[in-house]
Symmetry: C2
Subunit: 504 residues, 2 copies
């Protein structure tokens, strides 16, 4: 385990939900495990007027509600909270950043040298402005005297290919790539990281992990909630930008990458980049055939009325924003040539689940009347684990094949499983960029997504299919799956049916 | 499902233990499931004087004690028992077989045509004599008028290569190969048959099933009991003849055979024969290095004294008969070239278990500090099932690998699992020889075993290692395993330790 340098974390946009719900609780959980450096402090920066004490009270509530370690000794929390400070500034005003510098000097009055993590939990339009303003205060330069400076940037990283490129360019005026940590909290999940361990620490899966043995790959990430109070943001974004471009393509990268030669950030990021660069570009005609978009409509689930998307707060009454996307793609390389890959994500689906389903090809020759479906399901959330489906002999005379399965669940491991933010904050403190997205990967993912954005914009006749809230999206999504009678793997049934069940 | 012809089963040696404990209970269990033909009867033949009624009483007790269906309606048993008859003859007297013919005419007085299964549960020296005597009565010829005639022969089939060849030759004077059913009750076990389904109904295991991915294969069959009251027989036989030559090589055949092109008796038996013919012959020098033999000695398990083998009833005081064999072998073919295969069997080991352990090679490149052991354990008995060991990510920072496993157990299937004898008797009634051993396979297995027998006979200096009853045999057996610090997979600890446990 690497030693963790003393460091200070400065959160911009600290009065927001993320800080209270995720960041401070994650830092507290790290603290409880003794994984924070000996000297650390946290400075919240935002427009809202708080005193240090008021802010401490605000985040104290958050820890008590959201920390995984909330059962811990209250004295530990008291001690932790003392390391938290707050500063109200107008983050859109360059001069105000002098106050940040002053406050930091005040906090770390004794140390000559200090390491800073800037956590940007602000609207994206402020990202490069904050970097610029910090630079003006001399707060981005790092050397042996000053200590290191790192910046964590929340999604969305760009709105399309051009804006992502522009943002990268702007940031590079003030920071080096090695200082920029583009966070994708999906990569912080244990089970996402386990994809690499599963593939590369075992000898038995990798030989099967290619077009020769795999029939198709499905990646699903569904949410059961709707847009809630984020209608204003979401209506300008949609599922393609919000989920596919980042989280789901990153998971795809982990699933399909070549083994790196060393297990280091850049070696791994080189390999996932190669996948993103090998994604077959859709032309605008393909989009209508390869991508299905949908939007949830009003429905009734167990007697309760669920709103349609267009009735949500801050959503345009005739919005065409997709709350569901399902698409088929190909990776044009030696390993995956010809293997269809299916990705879908949506809101107001029957359940919250993220899973990868690998369906293997049939046996080359059928010896038995029926043959077995071989599937490996990697459940990323919830109830993280693995399920392997195979055929066994049906007891009794003859040699009939019966579908069976075996599974492994992470909760069988009695150890503490850190949350995504814990893992990613700790990695940033250690200077490990493995689970952060590199500039070229971000751009490569946008390059894949851009033709879809363009086609939808240019061809309003491409349908936005309605689907009743609580169902698995438009039925047209099943038509994407190659092969007669084949459908997506459904982790559970539509809620508008009565007998919903979960398989894994 | 094939229709089952009406048939009559004639058991020679019917007063013995096998009939009471296994055969009649198995037939009753088939009867309960409606799997016996509409018209069937069973004739017990032996020296012991019984009337039909006495024999019925005798086997009725057996069914009540040993049947899997003993909880069934007692009226069903009553009805079943009425189909059982008995005839006392001197089975060593050719003329007495006329009585068998008469009794059968009596039983089946109404039918012109009848199908017979002769089940030989007698000492092996009588096998060909019974066949000859039946032939003299015209009872082995089969045609459309008479119905079919099949003969099931119990083990041991020969005492060495020469005697096995001789027995085959003699039987061929009276019966065709298609009439001879050499039973190996291990092949009747669901989980042994499942080996073929597991391998050939799934696409994901077969690509790994060769020397390229498999490091070694272990097959263990252990018994916790000693020789009990079979000391007289066993002392002239030993573990090599009693277990290795038949059961364990048959399991090896299933594990290592090429996929047949059709799932039919001869196609499958051709493939297992090819394995037996590819077993690398040991020369006499090899035997000392590749085979470890042992004999159990007196020990104390949980305060109870366990006899040594030489103190068992009917065992010679200076017997060198092996109650334990462990050996290393190679299959010289394209699939298995260079993969060491280890087989062991013994009595008075810590537990009764039969299992196949496939250890896969390490990853070709180690990306992580530690790498995972990939093992597939096929448990044939007891608690039949599968266990797959692999590595997963250890939760928390870094990418440490943690050994995990997932398993499947047959008892999760709620269906009735027929016993080996049920399955094999039913197969014989249906004329399916798949799970019976063909003459050439028997001889090929003896061909492999013969040099070991010869070496032991000719070189008395080859050690018989003692091992305390209740332990996993002589420690020298571990030296067979290629690779430093590697040992056999131990399903549980020695009983002479305190903390015995079972892994699967």
């Amino acid at each position: 385990m690497k030693k963790i340098d003393n460091c200070k974390i400065i959160i911009f946009g600290a009065s927001g939900d993320l800080t209270k719900r995720k960041l401070i609780p994650a830092l507290f959980d790290l603290y409880c495990q003794g994984e924070l450096p000996k000297e650390f402090s946290i400075l919240g920066v935002s427009r809202t007027e708080y005193s240090d004490e008021e802010f401490r009270k605000h985040v104290d509530e958050g820890v008590k509600k959201y920390s995984e370690r909330k059962e811990n000794d209250p004295k530990l929390l008291e001690k932790f909270i003392k390391n938290i400070y707050y500063l109200a500034i107008d983050t859109a005003k360059a001069d105000d950043y002098a106050k940040v510098k002053d406050k930091m000097s005040e906090i770390s009055k004794e140390s000559q040298k200090d390491n800073y993590i800037y956590y940007l939990s602000t609207p994206p339009k402020l990202y490069s402005f904050i970097a610029e303003s910090l630079q003006k205060q001399g707060m981005t330069e790092q050397n042996d005297q000053t200590g290191w400076r790192r910046m964590i940037i929340e999604k969305p990283f760009g709105y399309d290919l051009d804006s992502a490129k522009k943002l990268n360019q702007e940031l590079f005026n003030f920071l080096k790539e090695s200082q920029i940590y583009r966070i994708d909290h999906y990569l912080g999940k244990e089970t996402v990281q386990n994809i690499m361990v599963f593939r590369f620490a075992n000898s038995i899966f990798e030989p099967l992990w290619n077009q020769k043995y795999i029939e198709r790959i499905e990646i699903t990430s569904s949410e059961s909630i709707g847009v809630e109070d984020r209608g204003g943001y979401y209506d300008g974004s949609g599922a393609l930008r919000d989920m596919i471009q980042n989280h789901m393509l990153q998971i795809l990268g982990m699933i399909t990458m070549e083994p790196p030669s060393v297990f280091e950030a850049n070696a791994i990021r080189n390999e996932t980049l190669k996948v993103f660069q090998s994604l077959r570009q859709m032309n605008k005609e393909d989009v209508d055939k390869m991508v299905i978009r949908g939007q949830y409509t009003e429905s009734k689930v167990k007697g309760e009325k669920l709103k349609g998307y267009r009735e949500e707060k801050d959503v345009a009454a005739e919005s065409k924003t997709e709350t569901f996307v399902a698409l088929k793609l190909f990776i044009d390389n030696w390993r995956w040539g010809g293997t269809p890959i299916y990705i879908r994500s949506g809101k107001r689906l029957p359940t919250r689940v993220t899973e990868v389903v690998i369906t293997f090809k049939n046996t080359p020759h059928n010896l038995f009347k029926n043959s077995a479906v071989n599937q490996l399901i990697m459940r990323i959330q919830p109830h993280e684990g693995l399920l392997l489906k195979f055929g066994m002999k049906n007891p009794g005379a003859g040699f009939d094949v019966k579908a069976e399965s075996m599974d492994f669940h992470y909760d069988e491991i009695k150890e503490y499983v850190p949350t995504a933010y814990e893992r990613l904050l700790l990695d940033c403190m250690m200077g490990d960029q493995t689970l952060y997205t590199r500039h070229d990967a971000v751009e490569a993912c946008w390059t894949f997504v851009q033709p879809i954005i363009d086609a939808w914009k240019e061809n309003p006749e491409i349908k936005v299919y309605g689907y009743p809230a609580g169902t698995w999206g438009p039925m047209e999504a099943d038509n994407l799956i190659e092969g007669e009678d084949l459908t997506w793997h459904y982790p559970c049934k539509n809620l508008t049916n009565d007998d919903s069940y979960c398989e894994l």
